[in-house]
C-alpha cells in the first residue's frame, strides 16, 4: 500500500513540475546519464578506498618517491649509459627511449617491406605473387609472440662470442648479436652543420623554381637529380672544410664479450625483425587493397590523356590508392608501437620490461603501471591525432570540397 502512496505522491509532484516529466525523453536521458555516471564514480571510489586500505595493511607507501631511488639492476643495452646506481626514473627513461627506438625503426622497415609485399602480391609473375601470398598467410595466421620466440631461438642457435661468425673484416655475428665497426667522426662540425643548413634552404628553392619553370615552359627541372648532386657537392665541401679525422673502430673480443665498434644486440634485432615482418604482412594486404580499390578506368583514362605509365601511377593511381591505404596503415603503426611491449618476453629492456622490473623490486605496482599507461596513451593519442590531421588535410579532400 505504502508503495502505491509513494508513487501517487511522486506522480503529483511531477504533475506540479511539468519540466521534469518522466514521459519526456529528455528527462529520462538526464536521469539515465546521472545514474550511469554515478555508478561509474561509485565503483571507482570503492576501488580507490579498498586499494588505499590494502596498501596500508601491507605497509606499501604510495607515491612516486621511489623514482629517485637507485634501482640496483643493470640494463643490458640502450642509447643512454646506465649503471645499477642510477635511479628508477632514468631506468624508465631508458626504457621509453628503447621502445621509441625499436618502434620507429620498426615502422620504417614495416612500411618498406609492406609496400614491397603489397606490390609483389599484385605482380603478374606467378612465382613472385605466390611467394608474397605465402608470406602474408604464414605471418598473419600465427601469434606475434610465437614469432618473436621463434626468431629468438633461431638467434640463440648461433655460436657464442668465442666462435663468432666472422662475416666480413670487423663484422662478427654471434648469439649476443651483430658487432660492426663504427665510423667515428672526430671534431669539426662547422662545415657539416653549414652544409645541412644550405641543403635545407636549397630544397624549397629548387622546388619553387621547378614549379615556376613548369608553369612557364610546361616542363619542370629534374629536382631529384639536382638535389642529389647538391648533396654530394655540399658533403665534399664539408669534409674539405672540417678535415675530420675519420677513424674506423673495430669490435674486439675481450673476455666474454665484444667491446668497441657498433653493436646490435640479438634481442633488439629479434624484436625489430619480428615486429616489422609481422606488421609488413598486414600493411602488404592494405597496400594491395588500396591499389585494387582504384578503378581500372582511371589508369585507362590516364593513358588516353597521354600520361606515361610511371606518371599515371604517380599522379593518378597513387593519390587515390593512398586515400584508401593511409587510415588502416596508421592503425598498423599504432599496433606495432603497442606490440613492441612484447619485448618483455625476450628480454629487451623496453618500457614494459623496465616497468615490470621496477614493480617487482619496489612493489609500487600501481604507480609503475600507471606511468607506463600514461606514456603509451600519450604517444598513441599523439600518433592518431597527427595521422587524423594528415588524413583530413591531405588525403581525404575530394574534388568539390565536401566530404560525404
Amino acid at each position: 500500500m505504502s508503495v502505491l502512496c509513494a508513487d501517487d505522491a511522486a506522480a503529483t509532484r511531477t504533475l506540479l513540475r511539468p519540466r521534469l516529466s518522466w514521459s519526456k525523453p529528455r528527462t529520462r536521458a538526464i536521469f539515465l546519464q546521472l545514474m550511469v555516471v554515478a555508478v561509474a564514480c561509485a565503483i571507482m571510489t570503492m576501488v580507490a578506498i579498498q586499494t588505499a586500505a590494502n596498501l596500508r595493511q601491507r605497509g606499501i607507501a604510495s607515491g612516486f618517491d621511489f623514482l629517485s631511488r637507485a634501482t640496483g639492476f643493470e640494463i643490458s643495452a640502450g642509447p643512454l649509459s646506465y649503471s645499477s646506481r642510477d635511479t628508477y626514473i632514468r631506468a624508465l627513461e631508458l626504457g621509453l627511449l628503447n621502445t621509441l627506438r625499436v618502434a620507429l625503426l620498426g615502422i620504417l622497415l614495416a612500411t618498406g617491406l609492406g609496400l614491397l609485399i603489397g606490390i609483389t602480391r599484385l605482380s603478374n609473375i606467378w612465382v613472385i605473387s605466390t611467394m608474397s601470398r605465402a608470406y602474408v598467410e604464414i605471418l598473419r595466421n600465427t601469434p606475434l609472440l610465437l614469432q618473436l620466440l621463434f626468431w629468438y631461438s633461431l638467434s640463440q642457435a648461433l655460436p657464442g662470442p668465442h666462435a663468432a661468425l666472422h662475416l666480413f673484416p670487423g663484422v662478427f655475428l654471434c648469439l649476443r648479436g651483430l658487432f660492426l665497426p663504427s665510423l667515428v667522426w672526430h671534431e669539426g662540425y662547422l662545415g657539416l652543420s653549414g652544409a645541412l643548413l644550405a641543403f635545407a634552404i636549397l630544397i624549397p628553392l629548387v622546388r619553387t623554381r621547378s614549379r615556376q619553370r613548369r608553369e612557364r615552359k610546361g616542363r619542370g627541372l629534374p629536382t631529384t637529380l639536382l638535389l642529389a648532386g647538391a648533396a654530394v657537392v655540399l658533403l665534399s665541401a664539408a669534409i674539405a672544410i672540417d678535415r675530420p679525422g675519420l677513424t674506423i673502430e673495430r669490435p674486439v673480443l675481450i673476455g666474454f664479450d665484444f667491446h668497441g665498434g657498433m653493436s646490435i644486440s640479438s634481442e633488439f634485432a629479434t624484436l625489430l625483425i619480428g615486429l616489422s615482418t609481422y606488421t609488413a604482412a598486414f600493411i602488404g594486404e592494405i597496400v594491395r587493397g588500396g591499389f585494387l580499390a582504384v578503378d581500372k578506368g582511371q589508369t585507362e583514362a590516364a593513358a588516353v590523356l597521354g600520361l606515361s605509365r610511371r606518371k599515371a601511377l604517380r599522379l593518378v593511381v597513387l593519390p587515390q590508392a593512398l586515400r584508401v591505404i593511409i587510415p588502416p596503415t596508421t592503425s598498423q603503426f599504432l599496433n606495432l608501437f603497442k606490440n613492441s611491449s612484447l619485448a618483455v618476453a625476450i628480454g629487451y629492456p623496453d618500457l614494459i620490461s623496465i616497468t615490470s622490473a621496477t614493480l617487482n623490486q619496489t612493489g609500487q605496482a600501481i604507480e609503475a603501471i600507471t606511468l607506463a599507461m600514461i606514456f603509451y596513451l600519450a604517444i598513441s593519442l599523439t600518433i592518431s591525432l597527427i595521422m587524423n590531421f594528415y588524413n583530413t588535410a591531405i588525403v581525404s579532400p575530394e574534388r568539390g570540397g565536401h566530404n560525404s
Partner: protein, 360 residues
Amino acid sequence: MRLIMAGLARGLRCAPMFRDRTNVIATALLGAGLGYLGFRFVSWAMVNAIWTLPEGANSSLCRAAKGEGACWAVISERFRFILFGMYPFDEQWRPALACLLFVSLYVVSAIRAWWKPWLLAFWVAIPMAAILLMRGGLSGLTAVPTEFWGGLPLTFVLSTVGFAAAFPLAVALALGRRSQMPGIRVLSIAYIELIRGVPIITFLFMAAVMFPLFVPQSFTVDKLLRAQIAFVMVIAAYLAEVVRAGLQAIPKGQYEAAASMGLSFWPATVLIVLPQALRATIPALVNTFIAVFKDTSLVVVIGLFDLLGAAKAVIVDPKWVGFGIEVYLFVAAVYFGFCYSVSRYTQHLEKILMARNHHS
C-alpha cells in the same frame, strides 16, 4: 605417347607459372633458389630428422644431429604436455573433449543457415559445458583446479569465453559511443580509447599484480579468472569499434523507418538496427576472433600455460633446452591450421555477402 606429351606440354603452358616468357624466366630463376632452400629444409626436417628416441634415453642423439636434422622426438615425447599442459595425465580425455566441444561450436557457427538467435545460446552453453567438464567436481569427475589447466584447451577457453563475454559489453559500448547523451558517450569513448591506446600486456600485468590490491583481501580470484576478466575488458573495447562500424553502415532511412513505425529507441535498436548491423559485421567479427585467438598467447607473460606457454615450458626442461625451433614450429603449425582455416572462411563469407549486396 606423343599425345600424352603434347597434352602435358599444353597443360604446362596453361599453368600460371609458365603463362608467358617473363613467367618462365622468373619461375626458372626463383624456382632454382626456392628448390635449393626447400631441399635444405626437407633434409633438415624429414631426411635427417630424429622422430623418436628410445624409451628413457637422453637427448644426446638429438644434440649430435643439431644443425643437420630436426629433433621431432621432443614433440613425440612431449606433445601431450604441449596440448594439455599439466592436466592430470589419466584425465586428459576431458580437455580433449572440451577442445572438441569448442571446435564443434565454431563449426556450428560457420553455417549460415544457423545464424539465428539460438546460436547465441550455444555460445553461452558450450563454453560453460567445456569449463565444467575441465573443472570437474561433480557427477564423479575429480576436481581439477585451474592451476593445472594448460595447452590448447586453455587457449580455446580464454579466446572463446573472452569473445562471448565481451560481445554484449561491446554492443553496449558501441551504442554508447553513438548515443546522443553526452554523459554516456564520453564514458564510452574514454573506455574504448583508453584500452585501445595501451598494450594488452599492461592489462594482463594489472590483472596479475594490481587486481589483488583493488579488492578486499578475503576475496581471492584465481589467476586464470583474472586474466580472463582482463581479456574480456580489452576485447570489449576492440569489438566495440567493429560493432560501431557496423552501426555506421546502417542507412539513416532504417532509423527513420523504425521511428515512423512508432518504435522507440530500444525496440528499434534491438529489432531493426542491431540485427542488420551485426549481420554486416560478421566477417569483421570473425577476423577479430582470429586476432583474439592469437592474442591469448600473451598470457605467457604472466605465467599461464596456454598452448604457447606449455611449449615454452617444454624447452625449459634441461633435457630439451635448445630445441626451441622444433617446438615453436609445431605450435606454429597448430595456430596456423586454426587461424588459416578461419580466415579462409571469412574470405569466402565476404565474397558471398558482397555478391548479395550487389544483387539487391
